[in-house]
Amino acid sequence: MSVSVGQALPPFAIESVSPDAMRDWSTFLADPNPIHLDVAVVKAKGLGDRRINQGPINVAYMMNMLMQAFPGCRIEAMDSRFLDNVYEGDKVTASGKVTAVDGNRVTCEFTLDVAGRGTVNAGTATISV
C-alpha cells in the first residue's frame, strides 16, 4: 500500500444518527443515562431537544474511517477530544489525512463533523498498515 504525507483519507459518513443505536449502546456500556434515551430528559436538562449520542459511538465512527482507509490495519494508538455533542438525526462525517509515515507505521489526524454545525470530535492516531 502506497501512503504519503498529506494524503486525504476517504470519509466515512452516517446519514442520520439513530436513537435505536443509542438504546443498544446503553446496554453495551451498561450505562442507562437518560440523555441518550429520553427526549424529555434532554429538554429538562437544557441540553437541546434531541437525544444525545454516546461519546464512544463517535469514536467508533472515526475508527471505522481509519479501518476503511487502511483495510487490514491495526490501530496502535488513538486520542480523541470531545468538542460538542452529536444528536439523533445528525449527519456525521469522519475524515482525516496522513501526517507522517515511518515504514509501515502511519500517523493521521482526523475529525468528526456534523453537517451544518462543524467539528464535534478531533484527534490523532497511529496505525500499523
Binding site: I14, A30, P56, M63, M67, R74, E76, S80
Partner: protein, 150 residues
C-alpha cells in the same frame, strides 16, 4: 481559585475490576452494525471495545466513579477526551479483566462551564487468563460543579 474548596483527594483510587468481560460474536456484530460497518471476518472485535470493556468491567460503575469524586452522576459528567494504546487486537470470544486507577481530579474555572473538576483515570484491559495488558486507556471527564458557581 483560592476562594474555592479543593477537589476531593481521589488520586490513586483503585478501579481494579473483579469481573471479566467477554466480547461475544453476537454483541460485536450488533455493535459493528450500529456504527455502519460489518463485523471483521478475522475474529477481531471492533476496537471501540477498549472503551466498552473497561467501563463495564472496571471496579466501579460510572455513578460510583462520580460518587468517589463527590459528584452526583445526575449532574451530567461530560467526556473530555479518550486515549488508547493497543499492544494487541481485541478478539471475539476472548474474556478480559480490568485494572486501573484514578490519576487526578483537578478543580478549574472555565469561562464556558464555570467551576469544574477534571477527572483523569487510567484503565488497562488484560486477558482474563492472565498476562500483560492488550490495551491501556486514559479517559478525561469534566464534572461541572454548579454548586460552586459564583
Amino acid at each position: 481559585m483560592d476562594d474555592l474548596p479543593p477537589a476531593p483527594d481521589v488520586a490513586g483510587t483503585s478501579l481494579d475490576g473483579t469481573k471479566t468481560f467477554t466480547i461475544t460474536a453476537e454483541e460485536n456484530a450488533a455493535l459493528c452494525r450500529s456504527t455502519g460497518v460489518e463485523p471483521a471476518a478475522d475474529g477481531s472485535a471492533h476496537p471501540i471495545y477498549y472503551y466498552i470493556a473497561t467501563q463495564v468491567a472496571m471496579g466501579k460503575t460510572v455513578a460510583g466513579v462520580c460518587e468517589t469524586c463527590e459528584f452526583d452522576v445526575d449532574d451530567g459528567p461530560m467526556m473530555g477526551s479518550s486515549g488508547v494504546k493497543f499492544s494487541g487486537q481485541l478478539m471475539v470470544g476472548e474474556s478480559y479483566k480490568v485494572t486501573g486507577e484514578i490519576l487526578s481530579l483537578v478543580r478549574k474555572k472555565s469561562r464556558k462551564l464555570g467551576v469544574m473538576d477534571v477527572l483523569t483515570y487510567r484503565l488497562r484491559l488484560h486477558p482474563a487468563a492472565g498476562g500483560d495488558a492488550v490495551a491501556e486507556t486514559d479517559n478525561v471527564w469534566v464534572l461541572p460543579r454548579k454548586e460552586l458557581a459564583a
